[in-house]
Symmetry: C2
Subunit: 280 residues, 2 copies
């Protein structure tokens, strides 16, 4: 739907929180990364790259630096945080106070949270993103951390069950979301449904590779990219046996609502329904 919102429309420059399902195009159209760049201020952008999820932070940081340099960003810093103490560093904090965009790379979401959760540095990033002062993007592990709860790992190829997903605490950028990434690419529907059975006060958001769920702070989710964003909405949940069964027993869950959204689609987070075009 709304295919006309694609190429022809001028790119928005409004700040946003961008949750990217991993493996975003870094070579050809770079649509998602270009959108991040535009929404961070284009040639006025001062971008902070946080590569801390990765075990090769220098390599991956440099990769994104090159991309945003080629696009013409005014300033780029790689905030190579490898120790929680660094999050107290006034220089780091001052850079984040003055940047216009923050990009969190992929890697291991547990590592990223272990380094950043509840630090003054991360609190500032979160608050500035929530206020709409900056554009904050995270891809893969950087996407997984966006909710209050976070999927740390899990499996596939089984009936949904409690042991299929490991849930811990994320960075709480958009607390009400429960995010999964590389979603259909890695067959993660069963694990996200299992997670939602445990946390039915959240909204499940499964994001495919090279696909982005973008939040402008106006209660709208917009989709850009190649794949789909899967919404698992338990608002009308009738019943689940989640609390009553063993960890490996299959889960009974009644009345989940599912939406598959693609490039150009919009989803109203208050009504929890897609904005569907009027019939022709």
């Amino acid at each position: 739907m709304f295919q006309f919102l694609g190429e022809e429309m001028p790119q928005s420059t409004k700040t946003a929180i961008m949750i990217i399902g991993g493996a975003e195009d870094k070579v050809h159209g770079r649509e998602i990364l270009r959108s991040f760049f535009n929404r961070s201020g284009s040639t006025d952008a001062r971008i902070a790259i946080i590569p801390s999820a990765s075990r090769e932070p220098a390599v991956i940081g440099e990769r994104y630096r090159e991309i945003f340099t080629e696009m013409g960003a005014k300033g780029i810093e790689i905030l190579d945080i490898r120790d929680r103490d660094q999050c107290e560093d006034p220089l780091l904090q001052s850079y984040v106070e003055n940047c216009t965009g923050v990009f969190m790379t992929g890697g291991d979401q547990l590592r990223l949270c272990g380094l950043l959760a509840d630090t003054p540095f991360m609190n500032m990033v979160r608050q500035r993103a929530q206020r709409g002062d900056i554009t904050l993007a995270g891809t893969s592990a950087g996407a997984a951390v966006m909710g209050h709860f976070m999927i740390a790992g899990g499996g596939s190829g089984e009936s949904p069950n409690r042991s299929l997903v490991d849930i811990t605490t994320g960075l709480g950028i958009i607390p009400e979301l429960l995010v999964d990434q590389h979603f259909h690419n890695r067959n993660r529907m069963a694990r996200l449904m299992s997670a939602i059975a445990a946390h039915s006060d959240r909204l499940g958001v499964g994001i495919d590779e090279d696909t982005c769920a973008l939040f402008e702070g106006d209660g709208l989710l917009q989709v850009i990219g190649k794949g789909s964003v899967t919404i698992i909405d338990p608002a009308a949940l009738l019943h689940t046996n989640h609390a009553a069964v063993a960890a490996t027993d299959p889960l009974s869950i009644s009345n989940l609502r599912i939406h598959l959204l693609v490039h150009g689609d919009q989803f109203d987070l208050h009504k929890r329904m897609p904005i569907v075009p009027a019939l022709p």
Copy 2:
């Protein structure tokens, strides 16, 4: 839910249509096969085994013959149909006229339909099953053929899209269903959602291995076995781009309703809702 309907209850002996997700237990409790045996008349059962989906029909037919012999069936015939002409054989037809249970094995659902669809033999099996005169079970390929439309093949690991699933015509035992098997075991959620986008007048039923969706003809679906039965209900579908996009484009689908049902759960096919126990 309804766990108390499990072991303690006496096994029903009512005829049923049993759709089994493949890999049903053949060695230990044999719960599903025993249920088929009981519903086919127990020690009075005259069972027809149709191994025609398989490329080794003699081997697989013999396997099931041994199982039902051990259980104590009164009569067992392996109807090893390898040619459509055999379906005209009066001997075969007379056996099916007088049997109490028919079991279709796994293999290749296209092969099974190619041999049996629209033959007098299959028409008789279908009509007797629909009237409740016999119990009809199909596992794996034998399950896939149950609807009017049939999933012949497909893939996983991609955003749902039209090319992810091959749909053809099944045997129409319960025409309104669109069945998939080995469901969560082989990560088939995306392909069944893709199929339902194309056929939103059907009810998607994804059945896990060693799990059975059982229909008694009273408008109730009951679940037995180890895994889950996933219902994908498009009755409240708001929008899909299915008709408008290229075969490999990701599908936009608004407002599917999903239920995961487990052993003992019941689903009202008229109301399209699970029968949920009253709050304690």
